[in-house]
């Protein structure tokens, strides 16, 4: 039976891709992307500007891509050696799932053009059809006013999509069944993320209201964070984490890996925020680089000071979270607040994240990597901060936006997790959790030959 289920999965996947093929031939004939370059016309300044804009957007794209390695490394580093293969597998799988579902439907759900579901004047849902279609002018400067091509647009946004699911991955690590997680991710990233994203970036009702989220404190990070919160609540804590009323820390197995992860995430954020300018315009892009970098730095200092005082000793894992907290915090308003306020926002985010991690542990929410604190709590903080520290945005509207995303994403994620829990099951067996998911789910170890006390 087990075997048949697996074969079924393969068949569906196969049909999906093969089904696309005939269609593809048509497309092939229609578009011919690389062939028709005659370029007899002289180069204009607008051509050059289009080219540099597009180049920057592609650079931003590969920077966001590398965030997935950052997530994988951070998550693996902060969990136990016996679950490392599982974590790496999930992260490798998510980027693939994220890109393919975004190709299949996500892009056209998030940027539907027209909304078909409009309730009380609120544009809630639209879909421009499956797969990609650059149309006539998609690959020319006409597509986005000389800022980028259709395919650049798609691939930049696609790289964003998978991050939302990756955020969940860290929070539910070390105990969730691989298959269930992959199903959850697929649906979350294929449907929930783009539909919610359309409300603001797809010109839906929140953008009409004046809600502002520059690069996704809410649209990406909180959306992931709500999923993480739902997962943690429904899964429960790892075995032995909260035994006899006391908290037993389960230390991560590789601080170098965690640190590599954080630096790569920070690197990627230059593309995440810098690319969200949606052109290479020197003024805003350089400004966003500065606010992004300084908020991250201030987040480190904020977390360092807090952990030094609260924990007595400076905790590396908290400082790493601090830099991410600063980055998530500045993401909503990276182009809208002053440099000095960016530092303040990052600094406060660094303080918040430490207390949030500790508080969640107190209320027995077991989040191995601090994903809820970094992405949800600081995502909310950053969204509100964009309203507080920028004269152009209203903190009330920002709060409304935050609530809307919570009201949609949390129940959606919870429903998904509950559905999985009562069908194929959500959590691995106690034996598997003890022995590690690497052996249990994958039949292999991450560090062959190393003597590790698990």
């Amino acid at each position: 039976m087990e075997k048949w289920r697996r074969i079924g999965v393969l068949l569906v996947l196969g049909l999906l891709v093969l089904g696309a093929a005939p269609d593809a031939i048509a497309q092939d004939e229609a578009v011919e992307p690389a062939a028709e370059e005659e370029e007899a016309a002289p180069i204009t300044a607008a051509d050059a500007m289009f080219t540099v804009n597009n180049t920057w957007m592609l650079v931003a794209t590969f920077l966001v891509f590398i965030m997935h390695l950052g997530f994988a490394s951070l998550e693996a580093g902060l969990t136990q050696a016996k679950n490392t293969v599982n974590i790496l597998f999930k992260n490798t799988g998510i980027i693939a799932i994220g890109l393919l579902t975004y190709w299949l439907c996500g892009f056209n759900l998030m940027y539907p053009g027209d909304f078909s579901l409009i309730i009380a004047g609120r544009e809630l849902f639209g879909f421009a059809g499956p797969m990609l279609d650059p149309g006539e002018a998609g690959q020319t400067a006409a597509y986005a006013d000389g800022a980028y091509t259709y395919y650049t647009d798609f691939i930049f946004q696609a790289m964003f999509a998978a991050t939302a699911a990756t955020i969940v991955s860290g929070a539910v690590a070390e105990r969730i069944k691989l298959g269930s997680f992959l199903i959850f991710s697929t649906i979350y990233v294929a449907l929930i993320y783009p539909i919610a994203g359309a409300w603001h970036w797809g010109q839906g009702f929140l953008s009409d209201m004046g809600f502002y989220d520059f690069a996704g404190s809410t649209l990406v990070h909180s959306v992931g964070g709500w999923g993480a919160l739902a997962g943690v609540l429904i899964l429960g804590p790892r075995l032995g984490k909260y035994s006899n009323g006391s908290i037993r820390p389960i230390a991560g197995h590789s601080m170098p890996l965690a640190t590599i992860g954080v630096f790569l995430l920070w690197l990627g954020w230059f593309g995440f925020n810098g690319g969200s300018v949606l052109s290479a315009d020197p003024g805003p892009v350089s400004f966003v680089f500065v606010t992004t970098a300084l908020a991250a730095a201030a987040g480190i200092i904020g977390a360092m000071a807090t952990t030094w005082i609260v924990e007595k000793k400076p905790d590396l894992s908290m400082v790493l979270n601090g830099s991410l907290a600063g980055l998530v915090g500045i993401t909503a308003g990276a182009d809208a607040v002053s440099v000095n306020f960016a530092i303040l926002i990052g600094f406060i985010a660094g303080i918040i994240v430490v207390f949030s991690v500790i508080a969640l542990d107190r209320i027995k929410l077991d989040d191995p990597v601090g994903a809820i604190s970094v992405h949800l709590v600081c995502g909310i903080w950053g969204t509100l901060a964009a309203g507080i520290f920028s004269a152009d945005h209203s903190v009330v509207t920002q709060a409304i936006g935050v609530v809307c995303y919570g009201a949609f994403c949390f129940p959606a994620a919870a429903l998904l997790f509950l559905a999985l829990k009562y069908t194929i099951g959500l959590r691995v067996s106690v034996e598997e959790e003890r022995g590690g998911l690497d052996v249990g789910e994958h039949g292999m170890e991450a560090y062959g030959g190393f003597q590790i006390l698990t």
Partner: protein, 113 residues
């Protein structure tokens, strides 16, 4: 004097330690080990090739005690480590001829605790 060696399931280490402490035995040494016993191992699969893993992760505890603690120590370990499943482990007891506390050069029973 006796030297008690126990192989237990890794995740039982905390319980065994606690059980020993509760019985007044609070000195011990711990090592990682790989064990092969009635527990049959499991099949791993690496790059398409299945193979039997029959060296399972275990923890080895060594406790030196005075004679009169022997039963208590064994009972404590059993209590802490027992689940009733295959793989629970074994205890081996050896006669200990001598014991020296390096710090003080004390010898014999007084040096053990």
């Amino acid at each position: 004097m006796k030297l008690v060696i126990a192989y237990i399931q890794p995740y039982k280490l905390d319980d065994v330690k606690k059980a020993l402490f509760d019985n007044g035995i609070n000195k011990m040494s711990v090592m990682t080990a790989l064990g092969c016993g009635q527990q049959m191992g499991y099949e791993e699969n690496y790059r398409g090739t299945p193979f039997e893993v029959n060296l399972l992760k275990k923890v080895r505890i060594e406790v030196a005690i005075n004679q009169e603690f022997e039963d208590r120590a064994i009972d404590a370990i059993v209590q802490g480590a027992k689940t009733g499943n295959i793989g629970d482990g074994k205890i081996f007891v050896l006669d200990l001829a001598e014991c020296v506390r390096i710090r003080t050069s004390e010898k014999g029973g007084v040096a053990i605790g």
